[in-house]
Subunit: 359 residues, 2 copies
Amino acid sequence: MKIGGTHYRTIWPRADETVDVIDQARLPHEFATAVLRSAEDCAEAIKKMIVRGAPLIGATAAYGVALAMRREPSGKALISALDMLRATRPTAVNLRWALKRMHDALHNRGHGERFAMAWREAAAICDEDVAVCRAIGAHGLKLLRAAAAKKNGAPLDILTHCNAGWLACVDWGTALAPIYMAHDEGIAVHVWVDETRPRNQGASLTAYELGAHGVPHTIIADNAGGHYMQAGRVDLCVVGTDRVTRNGDVANKIGTYLKALAAKDNGVPFYVALPSSTIDWTLASGVDIPIEERSADEVLKMTGRLPGGAIATVEIAAPGSPAANPGFDVTPARLVTGFVTERGVCVPSEEGLHSLFPQ
Amino acid sequence: MKIGGTHYRTIWPRADETVDVIDQARLPHEFATAVLRSAEDCAEAIKKMIVRGAPLIGATAAYGVALAMRREPSGKALISALDMLRATRPTAVNLRWALKRMHDALHNRGHGERFAMAWREAAAICDEDVAVCRAIGAHGLKLLRAAAAKKNGAPLDILTHCNAGWLACVDWGTALAPIYMAHDEGIAVHVWVDETRPRNQGASLTAYELGAHGVPHTIIADNAGGHYMQAGRVDLCVVGTDRVTRNGDVANKIGTYLKALAAKDNGVPFYVALPSSTIDWTLASGVDIPIEERSADEVLKMTGRLPGGAIATVEIAAPGSPAANPGFDVTPARLVTGFVTERGVCVPSEEGLHSLFPQ
């Protein structure tokens, strides 16, 4: 998608066989890119959330394996890079999926061809992510068209949580792809953007990318979405996910569960958009998903722009009070209206998933 | 309650017939008091949230009327002060209750006795608030004792939203009064403190006052409470309220509704603590409660301490993105386990309220 009129992906290979990414830890305060020169750089970028979003984490990890192979194409180096990258984030399953795919593509190859093979495979993962997101967008667009048809020209009010836009992927996004397509074809849409504490991916990334594309939106505190649903001011919700279990339970950014409860209580459709690489067929239900516990500092501190434009971090809470910071929660399948995937829309259940993705 | 070993109320009369309040807009970063010398000062303190919390707003407004009578004890000045103070915040009903009480006490009095009468009445409102909160605490304490008895000595995990502690009242608090009493009698309690965006009353005020009293607590993002309920780590919720309608619907800080939904979904008791002055017998249900729309800046900016200790406000969101900021939401009575009042605990319904407060 475009920033300041220039088309970007979130990650792209450089001519010198290193990798460029948009430095998302510095958004929305400044637009900058970061060069990743090694598997360690990639792991660090994932851990520090320079790159984030389940699909983009997978793509970055794939390039991490490729960069490891550039330095040392041995079997030992391959295993070591896979282990290091797998340990960066526990919840997103795309990470594991991308690493398994890199392993499968590389482990039987001769050392001489491993780097070239890995480089091509990482690029293929990125290109496929773009195609998959475009397909998710096209399927979701049909839902938005139908919902908009009931609004008599009034804007379709869509609530989203966290960032499942193109910044979370390689391009297009998952939850936001249908919104971009609806906006581009002239459907009036307005997005309620949950700020998504504690890391504020909504206020900083979703608002940023919607604004850059010209999509009308309003940032709200995470607390406000239920009130707007009660007031009839949300037509549907759409979010992304970091892992969907076989029964249709959905791990996503902390707080997603609360919005799904409010949607259910108010008869508001609640959709989850996902590439099939997010489905974890090995887990029976959401209670088995490991939930990442992140730093208390994310709750206790906040970064932003001082009046002069300089970036500063302030401590916002009572001095000495501790904080806890679970990164994700699990929304039970019973609260989800449908999954929007690259192969179409299905009900959130094992049968639903199998109807689109027979194993 | 105590700060640094000294007992404070949130508001108290000075010898020079002005009023001192704790400046809560500067907490938790610094402890300071502010002098209110006129009804205008009181209105400004309420609007700028130097004082906040439904009971304290009522007490401050009462002193505002008294200060107006000190300057000019005419009927016109009385009406004008009542109107100005009533317009400061639309949602809390204690404000209207306190102003009506001041009106009723003063309007038939001679000009010569109005100030002395008003000063005594404002002091009586404060003293009664303390007594009422102490009674709420005693009734809530029984609930906490019973819940703690099932924990085999493990800490009782209580979740609260916003600040309904002594800083929201004159002393003791509503939702936090039972917690202070339980802690003081040796029951092991631990409070999950919702940070309560956008004004962060949880992270800044609830954490501050619990910390000052030595009550174990953990600040969490508003998004996290549902996850902890799913994980069985919340034994009960207790919150305050700004207005309860005749049928038992509860207006409280934005986001309360989402926690009540999660409590219901997980079988966690959800209590609302309130003085009877918070009951609005004139409204049939919560849909009639006016919801205050506050400044977008509260969502887009955040104030805190820079590393050197200076206080700074930073812009945290994508530049140019708009925000909306409803201050309250309505939790339907069906999601509430019980009301904890100064006369005991009742079910959240018209019959329940009437059983304690026959009209």
